[in-house]
């Protein structure tokens, strides 16, 4: 019975989402048709849809998306490899924290885009620069959330585990990591979001021929606002899929199931 009401709830929330999106689309379409702006600058949804369809049909959109995804996932994975252990070490060992915290605090507020021109001079145009920009953007949220999460691990768990004979290494894998899981997952979500924003920006100037950011920037030269819009739709769609399906599922199968975080009421 509760499964039914759950399904009913999610159906209702889907209907609500559709209503909101339809209203927004109708508003946009209205302005586009009104002639307030030239239609070449503000293409109708129909035009965008046709362009998107043709770009999907000839595979070019898939290729752009694949390049962007490759860069973002590569950089995001590196950010986890760097940020997760460093965040844990910073929370566990005072001297590691003393050494890295000033550096992290100094580097974190620098927008990743500010580094794009510099990285281009150092690493050239292409994958390496964009991946490194993604790495830079994603590392700090990963690191910071992990650091907070490990510090928030219930000391009773550590005591209990210690009393049961857990050494430092097993404490790390079997208590600290799962104990900090709500923060680590939040860190991954934020890191991916930052990475996704950074990759599109970085591609605009530091990529050539392929990538969703690149295709948007390139279309400007030919006044192809429909291609720009179609790419933006794809960017939003992929971001949404990751946020809801990948990280949402991760959360449902771990910290929500364990009762470490609770679903909102209503």
């Amino acid at each position: 019975m509760s499964a039914l009401t759950e399904r009913g709830k999610s159906k209702r929330s889907l209907v609500r989402a559709i209503i909101t999106l339809t209203a927004a689309a109708a508003f946009y379409e209205g302005i586009s048709y009104s002639g307030l702006f030239p239609q070449v600058l503000l293409p109708t949804i129909q035009t965008i849809a046709v362009t998107l369809y043709s770009m999907l049909a000839d595979g070019s959109m898939f290729e752009h998306a694949a390049y962007t995804l490759y860069r973002v996932l590569f950089g995001f994975s590196l950010a986890i490899i760097v940020g997760l252990p460093l965040g844990i070490l910073m929370a566990r060992f005072k001297h590691v924290e003393n050494f890295f915290l000033p550096l992290v605090s100094a580097l974190m507020p620098i927008p990743s885009f500010a580094l794009v021109p510099l990285f281009m001079l150092w690493f050239g145009i292409g994958n390496l620069t964009t991946i490194l920009i993604v790495l830079y953007a994603a590392t700090f949220p990963m690191l910071f959330n992990t650091w907070s999460g490990v510090r928030a691990v219930n000391p009773l768990w550590l005591r209990a585990a210690g009393a049961m004979g857990a050494d430092e290494q097993r404490l790390f894998w079997k208590v600290i990591i799962p104990g900090a899981a709500p923060f680590i997952i939040t860190g991954m979500r934020q890191a991916f979001l930052r990475a996704w924003i950074a990759v599109v920006g970085a591609e605009m100037i530091a990529a050539s021929d392929w990538g969703l950011g690149w295709v948007i920037f390139d279309s400007k030269e030919f006044l192809q606002t429909d291609v720009m819009m179609a790419s933006i739709v794809v960017i939003g769609f992929i971001g949404f899929v990751f946020e809801r399906l990948v990280f949402g599922s991760l959360e449902r199968f771990t910290v929500l199931r364990w009762g470490m975080v609770r679903a909102a009421k209503g």
Binding site: N154, R159, G165, A166, V175, P178, W258, G259, M260
Partner: protein
């Protein structure tokens, strides 16, 4: 199962306001398989003493011997149950929680699962092996904690007010259950509580502590036959004696 000797244990807390004595010159011998309760008002150092025995705190002077060996740091010869339900690992099922200590010992998967199931049966939770802690009631969570502390077969069980956060009815059930578990396992138990009736129900001997600094005031043997009847005259007499040592007026009824 093993005797414990507490020899002149003193601990001083360093606080911003200066040195505060925690416990002072505690001397106590506990026999093998004995059930000892420590009672006293808040701040008398009973939990501090338990934490020293557990190895979480190091005494400033004196020493503790378990089975003739000096305690330094925590060890798997002692199992510990805390008051807070949150002591269980929320990411592990009841079975997973109980298996933890066995995993640390390097016992093979099949064997540790069998042992963990047996421990959960002992605390009457065999139907809840695959439940996560947040789906269990407070009393059930404390029973998992007891099973977890017993699973890796420590010789001493240390309990820090494990039932204090439970409602009165559940607490009665838990006390009965613990008395059964103790009878079956014959562990040496040190049990901290501020509940006099609980101490009389469970203990072979009750250690009465007084605060500032925490000292042993007296040790009261409870000679009542088991299982004990909390409404009997003898039971109430024992309670009265303990309350008298604690400085309560025994003409008032104690709930």
């Amino acid at each position: 199962m093993v005797p414990i000797e507490i020899r002149d244990v003193t601990l001083v807390y360093d606080t911003p306001g200066g040195k505060v004595p925690g416990v002072k010159e505690i001397k106590l011998d506990i026999g093998a398989s004995e059930f000892v309760c420590i009672v006293g008002p808040s701040g008398c150092g009973k939990s501090t003493l338990l934490n020293i025995i557990a190895g979480f705190l190091a005494p400033a002077s004196g020493q503790i011997l378990i089975d003739g060996k000096t305690v330094s740091g925590h060890g798997t010869d002692r199992g510990i149950v805390f008051q807070d339900f949150a002591q269980l690992f929320p990411w592990r099922t009841a079975l997973g929680n109980v298996e933890f200590g066995l995993e640390m010992k390097g016992i093979a998967k099949q064997e540790r699962e069998a042992i963990a199931r047996e421990q959960l049966r002992l605390v009457k939770l065999e139907k809840f092996v695959s439940s996560y802690p947040h789906h269990l009631s407070g009393g059930m969570q404390q029973r998992v904690a007891i099973a977890r502390a017993l699973a890796y077969n420590p010789s001493v069980l240390l309990m820090d007010e494990p039932f204090a956060a439970l409602d009165a009815m559940t607490r009665d059930d838990m006390q009965r259950l613990l008395a059964d578990v103790w009878r079956e396992t014959r562990k040496t138990v040190i049990y901290v509580t501020h509940n006099v009736a609980e101490a009389v129900y469970l203990a072979d001997r009750v250690v009465v502590m007084t605060p500032h600094p925490g000292r042993v005031k007296t040790v009261v043997p409870i000679g009542l036959p088991r299982p004990r009847e909390p409404l009997s005259v003898e039971f109430l007499d024992c309670q009265k004696e303990l309350l008298r040592h604690l400085g309560h007026d025994t003409t008032e009824t104690e709930n």
